[in-house]
C-alpha cells in the first residue's frame, strides 16, 4: 500500500500532537545544553501549521502539504530549528513534486531530501549531536527497509525506530554544532533536543502510515 496527501496532512497533525505532548520535555532538554526554548519554538510552529492546514485545498498533493508545513515552520518557529525544519520540509516537498501516491522509494527520497536539506543549511555532520543524528540513521534504515521490499508503513516504522535510537545515541556525545557546542565537554550526558523532536516527528510519520494502512485494510 502507498500513501497519499491524507497521510501527509495526518503526519502534520500527529506531529503537532506529539510536539504539544512533549513540549515541556523538549524545552527541558534544551535548558540543559541550550537556552530552553526548543519545545516552545516547535510547538508554536506546529500549531501554526495545524491552523494553516485548514486552508489547504482538497485536491492538494503531498508536495503541497509539505510545502505548507515548510513555509509555516519557517515563518513561525525561529531559532535554529525553524530554518532547519523548514528547509527539511521544503526539500521534502521538492522530492514529492508531481506525485499523488507515494511508494516506499518515494518515501525514502523524501526523507533523504529532508535530511540533505538540514545538512545543507546547518552544515552538521553525523555525530555532532544535532538533529542530523536522528535523521541520518532514519534515512539509512528507511533505505534498507525499502531495498528489502518493505511497504511504506514498514519503511517509516524502520525510520522512526532508527531515529529514536539515534536520538538516544546523542546522549554521550560532545556537541559541535548549535548552541550546545558552547558547553564543550559539558554537553556530554544530555540528549540533543532537536534529535529528540526529530524522532517524535518521524514517529508521527510512521503512525500516520500505519493508520492509513489500517483504514485501507478494513
Amino acid at each position: 500500500m502507498d500513501v497519499d496527501s491524507n497521510w501527509a496532512t495526518d503526519w502534520v497533525r500527529r506531529s503537532a500532537d506529539a510536539v504539544a505532548a512533549h513540549r515541556a520535555d523538549l524545552t527541558a532538554l534544551d535548558r540543559a545544553i541550550g537556552d530552553g526554548d526548543h519545545g516552545e519554538n516547535l510547538h508554536r510552529g506546529y500549531q501554526a501549521a495545524l491552523a494553516a492546514l485548514d486552508g489547504l485545498p482538497d485536491d492538494s498533493t503531498p508536495a503541497d502539504a509539505l510545502m505548507l508545513v515548510a513555509t509555516t515552520l519557517i515563518s513561525n518557529v525561529g531559532g535554529a530549528a525553524g530554518p532547519l525544519y523548514g528547509t527539511a520540509f521544503l526539500k521534502a516537498s521538492g522530492a514529492a513534486q508531481g506525485l499523488d501516491e507515494l511508494g516506499p522509494a518515494d518515501v525514502v527520497a523524501i526523507l533523504t531530501a529532508a535530511r540533505d536539506g538540514i545538512v545543507l543549511r546547518g552544515k552538521a555532520q553525523h555525530g555532532e549531536k544535532t538533529m542530523v543524528d536522528a535523521w541520518t540513521p532514519a534515512v539509512d534504515a528507511a533505505a534498507a527497509a525499502a531495498e528489502s521490499g518493505s511497504d511504506v508503513r514498514d519503511v517509516l516504522e524502520a525510520a522512526a525506530s532508527a531515529a529514536e535510537q539515534g536520538a538516544a545515541d546523542t546522549e554521550p556525545l560532545v556537541a559541535r554544532k548549535g548552541r550546545a557546542s558552547y558547553l564543550g565537554e559539558r554537553s556530554a550526558g544530555h540528549r540533543d533536543p532537536g534529535a529528540e523532536s526529530s524522532a517524535l516527528v518521524l514517529r508521527a510519520a510512521a503512525e500516520a502510515a500505519a493508520d492509513a494502512a489500517e483504514r485501507r485494510d478494513t
Binding site: 515563518s75 525561529g78 531559532g79 560532545v174 559541535r176 564543550g184
Partner: protein, 333 residues
Amino acid sequence: MKKLINAPEDVVAESMAGFAAAHADLVRVVPEPLYVVRRDAPVAGKVGLVSGGGSGHEPLHAGYVGFGMLDAAVPGAVFTSPTPDRILAATQAVDGGAGVLHIVKNYTGDVLNFETAADLAAANGIEVRSVVTDDDVAVKDSLYTAGRRGTGGTVLVERIAGAAAERGDDLAQVAAIAEGVNADARSMGVALTPCIVPHSGEPSFTLAEDEMEFGIGIHGEPGRETLPLEPADRVVDRLLDAILPDLPYERGDRVLLMANGMGGTPLSELYIVYRRAAERLAEEGIEVARSLVGDQITALEMQGCALTLLRLDDERIELWDAPVQTASLRWGR
C-alpha cells in the same frame, strides 16, 4: 517564577507596544510581522542598518533604533531568533536605495534566519550585506563549535557602523567599518544567578550560593565552567585574563571599555567592576579612551556582568562621539 508580565506568549508583543508608546518620537513599531523602525525610515540615500535576534536582551536591539544607530530592529520570541519574514519586512522598510546592512549575532538560529531573509531581500532587488558578530572569547575553538557568539561587541558595531551610515558612507564602507569593529572587539561574561525564560518557568541553570558561572553567553546557557564566587576585583581580572591576550590588546592601545550588566545586577556593582577593569588596563599600559557602563545586552533578570574591549583609532572615536538619538544611547542631539 516572578515576573511583571501577563501571559508568557504576550511578553514580546506587549513589551514592544509599551516601547512604541514610550518612544513615539523616535520609532514606529509594526506589529505584524513584528519589527521596529526609526520614525523617519526609510532615509533616502542612506545605508539602512537592521539588526535583531531573540528578545530578552533589552535594550538590545530596539533600544538602539534611531538617528546614528539602527534603522530597524527585529525582535524574536524570548531567546529565539526572529523568522525571515519579519527580517525581510524590516529590510524593505529601511531600504532608502543605498542598500541594507544586516548585523547578525553569531548564533546558528540568527545566522540561518538572517541568511534566508537576505536571500529573499536580494530576490526583491535590495542589496544586502551581512556582518556576523562573534566577539565572545568564552567560546574557545571554533573548529569544534558553532563559533564564537556575538555579545557586547554587537552594540559597538551598531553604534559605529550607524554613525558611518549617518555620515553618508556607502554600503561597502559601512560593512567594512562594521567588520573592523567586530574584528577588534572581545567580550567575556560571568553570571551569579540564572535567568528564567517566561514560557519555561524554570531557571536556566543552577548555582550554589558560593558559585558563579564563568564564560556565559546571553541566553541563560550554562557557561564555560562553574567556579567558586570571588571578590569583584578577582572576577574582573579573570575576565580580562581571557580577553586581553586574545586579540591581543597591547601596551599603547587605545580602547573603549564597556562594563555591561546582565539585567539583574545593580548599577553600583557595575561601577565597582568598571573601576577594577580601568585600573587593570592602566597597569597594562592600555588607555581607556571611551567607556560605557550599564545594561546594554542582557539576559532577562540574570545577575552578572560582561566586559567588552574595543580597540579604537581616531576614526572610530569620531564615529563613536557623533550624535546618536535612540531610546537607550543618546548624545549630541
